[in-house]
């Protein structure tokens, strides 16, 4: 007899060669990235392509990008939970995993960018709360801790299931499940308490989502750098974050569905919803971008126009137009028409959006720095292999953590599936078997 949730449990029990190969490749990329970073520590940030006036580049782009990625998890598991969107259930954990595993690389990218990482403790000792960086440190750490806790708590029932399911697993694994299960027995009272805690967390995390990315944007927005000092930068970044995050979740979900055979849990209907959600986000993103551009060029202030021309027709035009293509021109048609709003279509759109959004961060950050107000020497920024290697290592690290997580825990919250109440709109989905 086939076990219930066989697809979810099999990865925990069997490991194919493909997995080891994946891990090996990821470790190699990460190792190379560590080596590159070591060069940076040894020789200084001069090994990057940064210079005056372009003091921030790929690392800060990554910082914003990874934190942006993290927003979707919270959106899916927290916000959709609050509004009672039931179709979220298969996604909650895999989305929250994206959050939990991308946030460290967001925060980590800032650390990688520091000239003196050995002085990080000074931020704790001398931290000035007048500085947006400190707001950022506070918000992101709070978000990270809260997300990790939330993620963990949401796994407890399933961990308990695993604890009970694998009495003959290796000692360390048994120990892991036992400790993390926190003595969960699945009583009514426990479930009730869990739901309540998760409810509060959901609200808290929703607030944090808005706060975190707004605060991230204010690192730029609160300076007087032309192109950054914009009132809508908060909402703009927030929308962008959710946009890239949801796109990422779509891609991850499709990938897991394909690799792990989760067709039963994650259906084209889900991607249909995600696709529609992405359309809304794309249009909102476009609105913000358009408003920003129009305001700039209509006002035609010289220092702002210098930045605009840098993006529109000078050395950053490739990034600007690529961004627009990947964020909007390519995905929108795919997602608007139902015929193309398939799983594959959504994946293509999702990847495109993420690429576009990385370019968007880059296009926000670098051209403004490349056009200082005073006519001194304009720097040219060409990221070096160090920066790309470290970036690659961050992505590899994210994937590695995710892969390890998927190896130890089911990527779909089994206990939450059981809670899903069938509604007429869900008629076509097969009912989960009785527990």
């Amino acid at each position: 007899m086939e076990r219930e949730h066989e697809a979810l449990l099999r990865p925990l029990e069997q490991t194919g060669r493909g997995f080891y190969l994946l891990i090996a490749i990821l470790l190699a990329v990460i190792g190379w990235g560590i080596f590159a970073y070591f060069q940076q520590i040894r020789l200084g940030l001069g090994v990057t392509g940064l210079s005056r006036p372009i003091f921030w580049g790929v690392y800060i782009t990554n910082f914003v990008f990874f934190i942006g990625l993290s927003h979707a998890g919270t959106l899916v598991s927290a916000i959709l939970r609050i509004v009672g969107a039931e179709w979220r259930r298969p996604f909650t954990r895999l989305a929250e995993a994206v959050t939990v595993f991308s946030l460290p690389f967001g925060a980590g990218s800032i650390l990688l960018d520091m000239g003196r990482i050995d002085r990080i403790w000074r931020v704790l000792l001398h931290g000035r709360f007048q500085s947006p960086i400190l707001w950022d440190v506070t918000a992101v750490s709070t978000y990270l801790i809260s997300s990790v806790v939330f993620f963990y708590i949401a796994m407890i029932p399933d961990i308990a299931t695993l604890r009970d399911l694998y009495p003959h697993a290796p000692a360390w694994r048994r120990q892991l499940y036992r400790v993390l299960a926190l003595g969960w027995q699945g009583t009514e009272a426990q479930y009730h308490r869990l739901e309540r805690i998760m409810g509060w967390f959901a609200v808290f995390l929703t607030l944090l989502v808005v706060t975190v990315h707004t605060v991230v944007s204010w690192i730029f927005g609160l300076t007087i750098v032309p192109g950054w000092h914009s009132a809508i930068i908060g909402p703009y970044f927030l929308v962008g974050a959710i946009f890239s995050g949801v796109a990422a979740v779509s891609v991850v979900a499709a990938l897991l569905r394909w690799v792990l055979g989760l067709q039963r849990y994650i259906t084209p209907r889900h991607f249909n919803y995600l696709g529609q959600f992405l359309v809304a986000l794309a249009i909102t993103w476009f609105y913000f971008t358009f408003a920003e551009v129009l305001t700039t060029i209509y006002g035609a202030e010289p220092s702002h126009m210098a930045v605009f021309w840098a993006k529109f027709r000078e050395e950053f035009s490739w990034a600007f137009f690529a961004m627009f293509f990947f964020c909007f021109l390519l995905p929108l048609p795919i997602l608007v028409w139902k015929r193309t709003r398939t799983i594959f279509g959504v994946v293509v759109a999702g990847l495109s959006i993420n690429l576009g959004m990385w370019l968007e961060r880059y296009t926000v950050i670098v051209p403004s720095l490349a056009r200082p107000r005073l006519p001194y020497e304009w720097g040219v920024y060409t990221p070096t292999w160090i920066e790309w290697s470290v970036t690659a290592a961050c992505f590899a690290g994210l994937i590695l953590l995710y892969a390890l997580f998927a190896k130890l825990f089911p990527v779909v919250a089994i206990w939450e599936l059981k809670e899903e109440t069938p509604t007429p709109s869900h008629a076509e989905q097969p009912k989960p078997a009785e527990a």
Partner: protein, 214 residues
Amino acid sequence: MPHWAMVIDLDKCVGCQSCSAACQAENNVLFVGPEQAELGRAIFWNEVFCHIEGEYPHVKATIVPRPCFHCENPPCVKVCPVGATYKREEDGLVLQRYERCIGCRYCAVACPYGARYFTWHAPEWPEGMDRYQNPDVLLRPVGIVEKCTFCIHRLEKGLPIPACNQACPADARYFGDLDDPNSEVSQLARSPRALRLLEDLGTEPRVFYLKEGA
């Protein structure tokens, strides 16, 4: 305690860069070499801008030496996460605690005048050249931000002017107490020729320029 300010007469300045050279020598600012200079990483706490514009034969050059302005409302101080850069109340100088700087470069990004410089690599003094280091000035390590200090070490030693002013052959630079209405800098700062860079940003620089021309 004097509130230091500087006046630079652009009518007299000829862009010789003696100020920049003197500053580097006084403050142990090392050259970065051709490859690094090509990347835009040369360090000039006092930097001379030269902007050429126009079409042949109607050409104009604008030459402006730019030290740090030690602004009254410094955008850099606002954003520093650890208070490594701070404005000293007594004399208005905006200074840097090298040992505290974490190298995030937020201050460098925030400064609209490009007055801040970063040590992209550890300065490597060529064999024997460390002998001409000035013992009064700290050597900066890799990964931190540095900038003009109005030669605070000279001021504290009782030498009344920074190295740049001391060197200027055109006698184009003035230095003194802006709080004293009778000082030379105060009078020049009130001159109809006086202006400050990017005045409308509200940074309130303490370096005034006297316009070129009659």
